[in-house]
Symmetry: C2
Subunit: 240 residues, 2 copies
């Protein structure tokens, strides 16, 4: 019987108990044919990816460095191998060279960057989709040639911001438009910061300029606030 | 001059240094009129919310328990008050009773739940938008009557999963449809698990059933995998 990764609800409750009872064994050895997708990191993000792939009938090999996590999800039927995904031996055993996609879903920044380094060096033909904790993490992955990177809390933050505007009485069109404007602004800001990331003074200057630009964006786009909010002071008349 | 919260890039690099130089003072006192939005927690999520609100000309009061975080972002012109958002004195000082929206963006689960408890008890008329770390956190907030809750890494995980399918050769329509099917499935699973959350045996049974259902969803919907993936074994003929 094939089972999915367990619900997070179960994990949080039961993990501590398994951890007490199960000491970590030697690293796993992986046998059998390679799968088209490797998922490194089997936490909140890696498990959602694995469930979607399973739903769509795409076989994957998951690698996770925490033995408690692996031992637990295995009991629910998932195939997850225990080991450090930045170790070339494990990547070789997982047949990473034959994979069509490498999902880098490790939450810890240094472990993520180290794994990206090894995969980029030894399997440069395998595309990587990566999770990043924040902008600095994103910049480091980008430096390694990773093209597809998601900041892990950014899309949820945008969904919350959209709902905040709706709750405050902004209409749907204005709320949707605000999200488009903000995303465009944020992407430009990331490009600008990436270009000067090693110069602290320029980084601060870039952040200040981005903040000034952001201030007038919504109005300049011809969007309306609902009644009851103060009219903002135009940027040109604000003190500096 | 009004400045936005600093870029995360700056934070990570500079926070450690500020922390060394600045000891935490007494909790802040807040003066001036109340704002329509209170943001509790000024980390990655709270800062995105604040930037969107600033873009749209919506005044807010941000509360953050970490003094290093507050001290740092203040230097870039943001108004953030240092203090524990679960303390009624601070919520009173922030004029939470007059707010039209309370954004609960605290990352730490216990602090988040404690704050939600106090806000729900003393300001039941103020709607809450909340960030949750995982399902258990979501269930606890829901128990307190919070209606709008986002799992912080869930939307990013879905975006990554969609891109994974596209990278594997699924067409856009099938990839989009997979996301719809998965979200619907996941929402049903959350409802089912919420109903039995205090019964471990039923929770495990629910997770197993959800996994079985997930397995056949994509095919049952008439969706096609690209060439080159093995045909999955139908659920009825799998061993159990």
């Amino acid at each position: 019987m094939l089972l999915s990764p367990p619900a997070f609800a179960l994990q949080d409750r039961l993990l501590a108990r398994w951890a007490e009872r199960h000491a970590a064994p030697e690293f796993d050895t992986i046998s059998g044919p390679g799968n088209p997708v490797i998922i490194a990191g089997y936490g909140r993000v890696g498990q959602i990816l694995s469930r979607v792939l399973r739903m769509c009938g795409v076989p994957f090999t998951a690698l996770e460095a925490s033995y408690q996590q692996v031992d637990f999800v295995r009991r629910f039927g998932s195939k997850v191998y225990y080991g450090d995904a930045s170790r070339l031996e494990l990547l070789e055993a997982a047949k990473t060279g034959e994979a069509r996609l490498f999902v880098l879903a490790i939450d810890e920044v240094e472990a993520s960057v180290k794994t990206a380094e090894v995969v980029r060096k030894h399997y440069p033909h395998v595309p990587i989709l990566a999770r990043a904790r924040n902008r600095v993490h994103l910049f480091r992955l980008r430096d390694l040639g990773v093209k597809h990177i998601w900041r892990e809390t950014f899309p949820a933050s945008l969904e919350m911001a959209r709902q905040a505007l709706l709750s405050l009485g902004f209409d749907t069109a204005a709320s949707d438009r605000a999200m488009v404007l903000f995303k465009q602004h944020d992407e430009r800001q990331i490009e600008a910061q990436y270009a000067v990331q090693h110069d602290e003074a320029q980084l601060i200057q870039s952040a200040k300029e981005a903040a000034e630009q952001l201030q007038g964006l919504f109005e300049a786009d011809g969007q309306q606030r609902p009644e009851g909010f103060p009219q903002p002071v135009p940027a040109a008349t604000r003190g500096s």
